[in-house]
C-alpha cells in the first residue's frame, strides 16, 4: 500500500461488528504460538537449557525471569482481543513481544502470515509504519509538539509531504473531538484530552492492528468510561484488529470480543466474556470473575437462537445489547423477543433464558 493510498482510505461508513458466528470465518491477522520471553536468557541459552520445561525455581537458579510462558493464540481480522491480568502477570511484556519492542526468546509470531520473530530491522520498520498503531498508558506524547504535530508525527517521519500530513491530522483532530485545540501543547491538556491525542496519533497511518496498552488506567473513572465508549465507537466505524491490554475486568468485559487472562506469565484461559464467567478454566479465573454479574457481559447475540419467523410481536432488542441493558424490557415481553439488526429480524431471544442470565445462574 502506498503512502498516498493510506491517506485516501476513508474513515467513515462501515457496519456494526458481525455476529459471533461469522467471526470464525474471518482471516487470522496475528498468530502467536509457543511464545516465550525470558529476561536474562538468549535464544540459544534458552534452547540449550531446554527452557520450555523449566520451573520458576529453575529459571531463578539460572538468574532468569520468565515473563511470558508459552503464549499461543490467534487474533482475527476485526476482533477486539483483550489481554487481561494483574500487574506482574506478564501482559505488558507480551504486548511488547507482539510489537517487537522486545525480542521473544522462543516461539513464533506471525502477522498476516509473515514471520515477525526474525524480521530484519527494515521489515520491522515497514511493519510499524504501515500496520501497527499503539496507544500508551501514560500517553507518551511528545512534549515539544502541539496536538496537531503530535498526531502527524508518524506520517512526518515517513517523509510524507506537509500538505498531506496536515490534512490527515485535521481529519483525526475532528475524529477524536479536539477541534479548537490543535495548537495546544500536551502540558495544556487534561489527561483525557491527552489520551485522545494518543488515540488519534495511533490511527494516523491507518494501521491494520491497533494496540492499546492499558490506555485508560491513568484516567479518572468517568473519563475512562467516556473513552471506552469512544474506542467502541471508533472500532464500529474503523474495523481494526484491536489488541487491548487492561488490568480492569469490567473494562475487559465491556469492550472485548475475546479475553485472554494471564497469570504469572501464562495465559490461563481465552474465551468470550460470558464464557469466562460461565465456564472458568480454573480457580484463579473463577475467583476473578465471581463478582461480575453475568447479565452485564452476556449479549443478546450470545444466547439468541435463529429466527423461524419474521413477524414476532412486541418490542424488539438489538443483537449487541447486553442482557442487563434490556432487563426492564424482558419483564414485560412475551416468551420470545425478536432480535433485530439494521431493522431486520435476525434472531429470537428466549425470555426464560434471558431471565436465568439476569438472575446470575451460571450453567
Amino acid at each position: 500500500m502506498t503512502n498516498a493510498s493510506v491517506l485516501e482510505m476513508n474513515l467513515a461508513g462501515g457496519h456494526l461488528s458481525a455476529p459471533a458466528a461469522t467471526q470464525e470465518a474471518r482471516e487470522t491477522i496475528l498468530s502467536v504460538s509457543g511464545l516465550w520471553k525470558v529476561f536474562g536468557a538468549s535464544e540459544k541459552e534458552f534452547n540449550q537449557a531446554n527452557g520450555t520445561q523449566l520451573s520458576d525455581e529453575e529459571f531463578a537458579a539460572h538468574g532468569w525471569t520468565a515473563a511470558v510462558k508459552d503464549a499461543t493464540f490467534d487474533v482475527k481480522q476485526g476482533e477486539i482481543f483483550v489481554i487481561m491480568g494483574l500487574s506482574g502477570s506478564g501482559k505488558s511484556t507480551l504486548i511488547r513481544s507482539l510489537t517487537r519492542l522486545n525480542t521473544p526468546t522462543a516461539g513464533l509470531l506471525e502477522i498476516d502470515g509473515q514471520d515477525i520473530t526474525h524480521a530484519t530491522p527494515d521489515k520491522l520498520l515497514e511493519l510499524r509504519r504501515k500496520s501497527l498503531g499503539m496507544v500508551f498508558q501514560n500517553f507518551a506524547l511528545l512534549p515539544n509538539r502541539t496536538v496537531e504535530s503530535n498526531i502527524s508525527f508518524p506520517l512526518e517521519i515517513q517523509g510524507i509531504s506537509k500538505e498531506d500530513y496536515s490534512a490527515r491530522a485535521q481529519e483525526l483532530v475532528d475524529l477524536v473531538g479536539l477541534r479548537g485545540r490543535e495548537d495546544h501543547y500536551p502540558a495544556e491538556l487534561s489527561g483525557g484530552q491527552q489520551q485522545r491525542v494518543g488515540i488519534a496519533r495511533s490511527l494516523a497511518t491507518n494501521p491494520k492492528i491497533w494496540v492499546l496498552d492499558e490506555p485508560f488506567s491513568a484516567l479518572d473513572p468517568l473519563i475512562r468510561n467516556d473513552l471506552q465508549d469512544e474506542v467502541l465507537r471508533l472500532q464500529a466505524t474503523l474495523h481494526k484488529t484491536v489488541i487491548f491490554i487492561t488490568h480492569d475486568l469490567d473494562e475487559a468485559m465491556k469492550i472485548a470480543d475475546r479475553i485472554a487472562i494471564m497469570e504469572n506469565g501464562r495465559i490461563v484461559q481465552i474465551g468470550r466474556p460470558e464464557e469466562l464467567i460461565s465456564a472458568p478454566a480454573d480457580d484463579y479465573v473463577k475467583r476473578f470473575v465471581s463478582k461480575v454479574p453475568l447479565a452485564k457481559v452476556t449479549r443478546v447475540k450470545h444466547i439468541m437462537s435463529s429466527a423461524s419467523t419474521q413477524d414476532l410481536p412486541g418490542p424488539s432488542v438489538s443483537a449487541n445489547d447486553t442482557i442487563a441493558e434490556i432487563g426492564p424490557l424482558i419483564i414485560d415481553a412475551g416468551t420470545d423477543i425478536p432480535v433485530t439488526e439494521d431493522g431486520k429480524i435476525v434472531g429470537v431471544l428466549a425470555k426464560e433464558r434471558a431471565i436465568r442470565v439476569l438472575a446470575g445462574a451460571r450453567d
Partner: protein
C-alpha cells in the same frame, strides 16, 4: 556506655585503630619496613613521571603524524578554523569591522549598538521570564554600559558564546555516544571525572603546544573545562526520557536517527537546558584564565586593573563578569523552566524580525549618534576610587588587629597542622586511607584509593600534596564554620532565599583574583591570604547545600516531630539534621572540590603546594610537571570525593532518604 557502643557501631572502628597506629609511628622513629624508614618515600620509588609525560606530549605535539600529516598541522589548521567564527562574533559584538592598524586604522562598520542589543535582550527576557527577568536584564546591561564595560563584556560574551556552542555540541555528541554504549559511558565518566579535577593550568601548556597561542587555544582550554557537565547532563537527560516515549518512537516507525533527534532529544530538552546552563557558568568561571592566554575581554580588564593595584577597577570589571553570568544563568534557567513546566500555545516568542529591527535600527542610528555605539567616556560612572580608599582605610586603621589574627592562626593552628601532615609517614597515610575506604565501601574502593595515593607518592610531589591537603582542609573548615550556620539561618527565613542565591552566584562567578589582592594587602603574601581566598570561593557550596538539605526535609516528618512535642531546637537536632545528613555530606564534598579547584589560583599569593607546582610549570612551559602535579590535585580530589560519596551513600542507605 550504650552511647559509646552505638558510636563504635556507627563509626568504623578501624579508623581509630589506624589513627592510633599513626600516632604511634610518629612518636617512634624506629619503625621501618624493608629496611627503609617509613617516614619518607624511598628514592627508588619516585618515578620520573613528569619527564615521561612531558616527552610524550612534546612528541605528540611536534613529531606525531597521521599518514603524511603531522598532528600539529591538523591541530593548527583546526585552531585557524575555530578562529574564524570567534573573529566574526567579535566584529559583530565588540569591534565592528576595522581595516588596517596603527596609523592606518579605519573602522568600516561599527559593532552592533548597545542600545539595540540590550533592548532585544530585555524583550527576550520579558518573553521568557516576565517583568522580573526583564528588569534584571535592563539593570545588568545598564551597569555594563554606564561603567564603560560594554565593549569588553561583548568580547567576553563572544568567546563565551563560541565556547558554549562548541562545548554543548561536543558534550552532546559524547553524551549520546555514552548513552548508546555502556563501555563508552564508563570510559567517558572516568575521563570526565579526572578532567573536572585537574586544574585548567595543567592543560594550558599542552593546549598551547597543539593549538598555538591565541583565542582558539583559550577557547579550547575553556571547552575542555566546561565539557563534563554537558556530557553528564546529556546522559542523564536521555536516560530519564520515559520508556513509553521511546517505545512510542519505535512503534511510530522512527529510524534510529529519527528516534534520537525527533523523539528522545526533544523530550530530554528541559534537562539538557540545565546542562547548558552549567556550561555557561563554567565558561564564565574560566574567563579570567582564558584571558591570560589571549582571550581578552573583561577577564583581561580584571588582570590589568589588579596589576596596577586598582582593586576597585578590578572589582568593577569582575562585577561585569558576574552581571553577564547572572543574566545568562537566569535566562537559561527560565528557558529550562519553560521547557519542563510545559509549553503554552498562547506564549509565542516575538517574531525574529522584531529583534532584528531593534538591533539594526539602533545600530543604524549609531552612525548619527555615536553615543549609541559607545557610551561617551565623560558620562561613565565609576566606584573604583571608593573601593580603593576603603581598602586603604582598613589597611591603615585595622591592620594590627588583622595581623594579630593572622599571626595567631599561622603560628598556633596552621603551621603546626602543616608540619604534622608533612611529617606523616606515607605508608601510614596509604594504609589509613585504604582502611577507611574498605570500611565505607569495600575492597574495590580501597584499591582505587590506595592506587591514587601511591601515584602521588611515586610522582615525587608528596610534600607539595600534603601542603595542598593542609591548605584545603583549613579552608574547608573555615568555609563550613561560616557557611553552615549561615545556611541554617537562610533556610529558616524563606524571604532571604532570593537575595542569598544572588549573593552565592556572585561569590562563585566573581573572579577570585579580585579578593586575592586585598587579601595580600591586609594579610601579606602567604598561606593565610591563600586560605582566605580559597574559603571565600568554597563557602558558596557549603551554604547552598545546607539550605538545600534543610529545606528538602519532608514536611510530614517535621509535622510529626512537632506533634510529638519537640521544641524547635529538638526538631532541628533530631529531625532536620539527620534527614539532611547525606545532602550535607555531599555539600561538604562539593566544598572540598571547590577548595581544591582554587589551589592553583591561590598559588598566585605564594603558596608552596601542588597548585604552585602547576603554576610554575605553566609559566616555565614544563608540560610534564604541570600535568603530573595537576593529576596529583585530581588524585586528592578523587580520593576525598569517593570516600565522602561512599560515606554519604552509606548514610543514605541507613536513613532511607535521597539527597
Amino acid at each position: 556506655m550504650i552511647k559509646a557502643m552505638r558510636f563504635a557501631m556507627h563509626t568504623p572502628w578501624l579508623v581509630f585503630v589506624l589513627l592510633v597506629l599513626v600516632l604511634f609511628a610518629i612518636s617512634s622513629n624506629s619503625v621501618s619496613l624493608f629496611g627503609t624508614n617509613l617516614r619518607s618515600i624511598p628514592e627508588f620509588m619516585i618515578l620520573p613521571l613528569s619527564d615521561w609525560a612531558g616527552n610524550a606530549l612534546n612528541w605528540f605535539a611536534r613529531e606525531a603524524s597521521i599518514g603524511s600529516l603531522t598532528v600539529q598541522t591538523i591541530t593548527r589548521n583546526f585552531a585557524e578554523l575555530v578562529n574564524w567564527p570567534i573573529t566574526a562574533l567579535n566584529m559583530l559584538l565588540a569591534d565592528g569591522i576595522v581595516t588596517g592598524a596603527g596609523f592606518n586604522k579605519h573602522q568600516l562598520m561599527p559593532p552592533l549598538s548597545w542600545l539595540g542589543l540590550s533592548s532585544a535582550l530585555v524583550l527576550y527576557s520579558y518573553f521568557l521570564g516576565g517583568r522580573r527577568l526583564a528588569w534584571l536584564s535592563a539593570i545588568g546591561t545598564a551597569y555594563l554600559v554606564f561603567f564603560g564595560l560594554w565593549q569588553h563584556a561583548m568580547t567576553t560574551l563572544a568567546s563565551v558564546i563560541m565556547c558554549v556552542i562548541v562545548a554543548a555540541g561536543l558534550g552532546l555528541f559524547i553524551g549520546i555516544a555514552s548513552y548508546r554504549a555502556e563501555k563508552v559511558e564508563i570510559a567517558s565518566r572516568v575521563v570526565m571525572n579526572v578532567m573536572q579535577t585537574v586544574p585548567i593550568f595543567s592543560y594550558l601548556v599542552p593546549t598551547l603546544l597543539l593549538f598555538g597561542y591565541g583565542p582558539s587555544a583559550a577557547l579550547l582550554a575553556t571547552v575542555l573545562y566546561a565539557l563534563p557537565p554537558m556530557v553528564h547532563a546529556t546522559v542523564l537527560a536521555l536516560k530519564s526520557v520515559p520508556t513509553e516515549i521511546r517505545e512510542y518512537g519505535e512503534i511510530a516507525g522512527s529510524t534510529k536517527r529519527q528516534l534520537l533527534w525527533k523523539v528522545e532529544l526533544p523530550a530530554a530538552l528541559p534537562m539538557l537546558t540545565v546542562g547548558l546552563n552549567q556550561v555557561v557558568m563554567m565558561s564564565l568561571n574560566m574567563v579570567i584564565i582564558a584571558s591570560m592566554i589571549g582571550a581578552g575581554g573583561l577577564g583581561y580588564d580584571v588582570l590589568r586593573a589588579l596589576r596596577r593595584l586598582d582593586i576597585g577597577g578590578g572589582l568593577e570589571a569582575g562585577m561585569g563578569i558576574v552581571v553577564l553570568a547572572v543574566i545568562l544563568d537566569r535566562i537559561t534557567q527560565a528557558a529550562a523552566r519553560r521547557q519542563s513546566a510545559g509549553l503554552n500555545h498562547e506564549v509565542r516568542s516575538p517574531r525574529p524580525w522584531l529583534y532584528l529591527l531593534i538591533i539594526f535600527g539602533a545600530t543604524g542610528a549609531s552612525f548619527l549618534l555615536p553615543a549609541l555605539q559607545f557610551w561617551p567616556e565623560k558620562m561613565m560612572l565609576s566606584t573604583a576610587p571608593f573601593w580603593n580608599e576603603s581598602i586603604s582605610f582598613i589597611n591603615q586603621h585595622f591592620f594590627d588587629q588583622m595581623e594579630a589574627l593572622r599571626n595567631f592562626s599561622l603560628l598556633h593552628i596552621m603551621n603546626p597542622f602543616r608540619d604534622f601532615l608533612v611529617e606523616l609517614p606515607f605508608v601510614l597515610v596509604l594504609l589509613t586511607l585504604g582502611g577507611i575506604a574498605y570500611v565505607l565501601s569495600g575492597i574495590r574502593l580501597a584499591a582505587i584509593v590506595m592506587g591514587m595515593t601511591a601515584f602521588i607518592a611515586v610522582s615525587g610531589f608528596w610534600e607539595a600534596a600534603m601542603i595542598s591537603v593542609y591548605l584545603t582542609a583549613c579552608s574547608v573548615v573555615i568555609a563550613v564554620l561560616i557557611g553552615f550556620p549561615f545556611g541554617v539561618y537562610i533556610a529558616s527565613s524563606p524571604r532571604l532565599l532570593k537575595p542569598a542565591s544572588l549573593l552565592l552566584d556572585t561569590l562563585q562567578t566573581l573572579p577570585t583574583f579580585i579578593y586575592l589582592l586585598p587579601a595580600v594587602m591586609l594579610f601579606r603574601n602567604g598561606d593565610f591570604s591563600a586560605l582566605i581566598a580559597i574559603a571565600c570561593y568554597a563557602i558558596a557550596p557549603a551554604i547552598r547545600y545546607t539550605i538545600h538539605g534543610l529545606r528538602s526535609v519532608p514536611e510530614s516528618r517535621i509535622e510529626a516531630a512537632i506533634m510529638a512535642g519537640c521544641t524547635p531546637t529538638q526538631v532541628f537536632r533530631h529531625v532536620k539534621i539527620p534527614s539532611a545528613y547525606p545532602t550535607l555530606l555531599l555539600g561538604l564534598n562539593q566544598t572540598i572540590m571547590m577548595a581544591l579547584s582554587m589551589l592553583v589560583i591561590a598559588a598566585l599569593v605564594g603558596t608552596r603546594d601542588l597548585g604552585q607546582e602547576v603554576y610554575i610549570a605553566l609559566t616555565r612551559a614544563e608540560t610534564g610537571n604541570g600535568i603530573i602535579a595537576g593529576l596529583g590535585i585530581a588524585a586528592i580530589a578523587l580520593i576525598s570525593d569517593s570516600l565522602l560519596k561512599a560515606w554519604a551513600a552509606k548514610k543514605q542507605h541507613q536513613l532511607g532518604v535521597k539527597p
